[in-house]
């Protein structure tokens, strides 16, 4: 059965069904339902505090949910232990703060998962890691530690670290928000290339140009709810709801 579902092109890679989550009294996710098809690029947008990060993090269970269901390729997300770790290894995650392992070199950052989780040999892991570092343009930094790299370089290395696990899908939580403006594009370029290569992606970002170029669909969240969704040009040019219009005005403002 697992065999069937992984080969079935019609089963969404990621699916959320009526997901609810509270932080104490705060209702951060309200009946969120969403599905991401294979190869689809989904951009999530919305005001600060609307629950975008939380939603992203529930998908690989960095946050638990109160009710509802999360399915990965049709299978319920495991709740703990080895099964959960294996599922996480198949879903890439890129963080706003990069989160490269501070005490390891860039190359070690990228080879750690393949060696420790996938059981690859050092040579095998390093060969693929260098290919990936080449692809994201930081191969020359392979033997430095993260603190010696610029933010843009760190984020590209972090993307390579996720890719090294050959994930089924990747989540990006505001991957360019911590970057100096001149470094944003070098990271977005890598992501555009990934999207063109057919990677299934969930991207929380306010970069409208990126969304217009590669997103298949834009989801607008506010107060823990999905308020509106649609094709990027349609959403940005003709938002249907007042909330979305207000929000778009506010981010176009600066």
């Amino acid at each position: 059965m697992a065999q069937e579902s992984t080969t079935d092109k019609n089963v969404p890679v990621i699916e959320l069904r009526h997901v609810d989550k509270h932080y104490g009294d705060l209702h951060v996710l309200r009946d969120v339902s969403l599905s991401v098809a294979r190869g689809e690029v989904l951009v999530v947008i919305g005001p600060s505090g609307s629950g975008k990060s939380t939603m992203c993090r529930t998908i690989n269970r960095l946050e638990t949910i109160d009710s509802g269901e999360i399915l990965i390729e049709g299978e319920p997300l495991p709740q703990e232990g080895r099964e959960l770790a294996r599922m996480r290894s198949e879903l890439g995650m890129v963080f706003q703060q990069f989160n490269l392992f501070a005490h390891k070199t860039i190359l070690e950052n990228v080879t750690l998962g393949p060696r420790e989780v996938l059981g690859q040999s050092k040579e095998e892991a390093e060969k693929y890691a260098m290919e990936l570092l080449e692809r994201v343009g930081v191969a020359s930094q392979a033997n430095k530690v993260p603190a010696q790299l610029s933010g843009g370089q760190q984020q590209r290395a972090a993307i390579a670290r996720s890719l090294a696990m050959r994930p089924k899908a990747m989540m990006f939580d505001e991957p360019t928000s911590a970057l100096d403006p001149e470094m944003i594009n070098e990271v977005l370029d890598v992501m555009v290339e990934l999207a063109r290569g057919g990677m299934t992606m969930v991207v929380v970002t306010h970069e409208m140009n990126f969304a217009r170029r590669v997103a298949d669909r834009v989801v607008f969240m506010a107060d823990g709810q999905i308020v509106e969704e649609g094709a990027p040009d349609e959403f940005f040019d003709h938002p249907k709801t007042q909330r979305a219009r207000d929000f778009l005005d506010s981010i176009k403002g600066h």
Binding site: V117, A158, R161
Partner: protein, 277 residues
């Protein structure tokens, strides 16, 4: 966030403002004045010794004989053996207590917390009396070495558990989340990502605690274990040479602790140069 370089300015450099000309003059005057005061104090002390006859050759001549030094050396070896064994036990036990407290199931966590707080709170001398006076009553006979080493180790393990825990808490949450997200298990995340960084944060505290271990061993006389201090006391009684002997022994202890510091800095550099956040 712009490019960060490896040679991040140290806290000391950040707190220490380069002095201007007036400050430099003040520092020079201050240095000379304090040197004078120190010299005067030393002179007064030496004079007092002279007056009371402490400088008489009979208090010092035994220091020129080899058997004296051989005896002290034996004591030194005893101190080093106890300190190293106790330090090693304390490191392992402290780590285990911390891991149990932070990642164990609730009952284990509570137990580890209790044990940690107990060993941390009870004076090591009391623990030594416990091993010396109470334990034998239950028919458990232990060599003096262990009656000294175990309590010193237990006392230090409580503190070390807290030191390690502070280090683990200082590792940013994002490091753990990144480790989980590539599929590392909880244990591998702890072992490969959290602990190596945590230890680097707390190296200065670890050194400080090793120094405390060495100092704790000086109560060896309670269990008549022949450490440096105990042997020095024997010599003091034999030669009635309180001052000279204490002087020599304090210098040796200072040197031991100096060596610990140097060794730790060396180890830290060998293993931990790569990150300074």
């Amino acid at each position: 966030m712009s490019a960060r370089t490896q040679s991040a300015p140290s806290v000391r450099a950040a707190l220490y403002e380069a002095p201007g000309p007036r400050t430099k003059r003040l520092i020079a005057v201050g240095t000379v004045l304090s040197a004078l005061v120190v010299a005067a104090l030393v002179a007064a002390v030496v004079r007092q010794f002279y007056v009371t006859g402490q400088l008489a050759p009979r208090y010092w001549s035994f220091l020129l004989e080899w058997p004296t030094w051989r005896f002290l050396l034996q004591g030194f070896v005893g101190t080093v053996e106890v300190a190293l064994t106790a330090g090693a036990i304390a490191l392992v036990l402290g780590l285990a207590l911390m891991l149990g407290r932070t990642s164990g199931p609730r009952p284990v966590s509570a137990a580890c917390r209790l044990v940690t707080d107990f060993f941390r709170g009870v004076p090591s001398l009391l623990l030594i009396y416990f091993f010396f006076l109470v334990v034998p009553q239950y028919g458990i006979r232990m060599p003096a070495f262990w009656m000294l080493t175990l309590p010193v180790a237990l006392a230090a393990s409580g503190v070390l558990a807290e030191v390690f825990r502070a280090g683990v808490n200082a590792v940013p949450k994002g490091q753990v989340e990144a480790a989980y997200s590539i599929g590392l298990s909880r244990w591998k995340t702890m072992r490969l990502i959290v602990l190596p960084q945590a230890v680097r944060y707390v190296i200065p505290s670890l050194i400080a605690q090793l120094v405390v271990v060495v100092k704790d061993t000086t109560v060896a006389y309670v269990v008549s274990y022949p450490d440096l201090m105990q042997n020095a006391r024997v010599l003091i009684t034999n030669y009635d040479a309180l001052l000279s002997m204490y002087l020599v022994v304090s210098v040796v202890y200072v040197l031991i602790n100096f060596a610990i510091n140097k060794a730790s800095v060396y180890v830290a550099h060998r293993t931990g140069v790569k990150i300074i956040r």
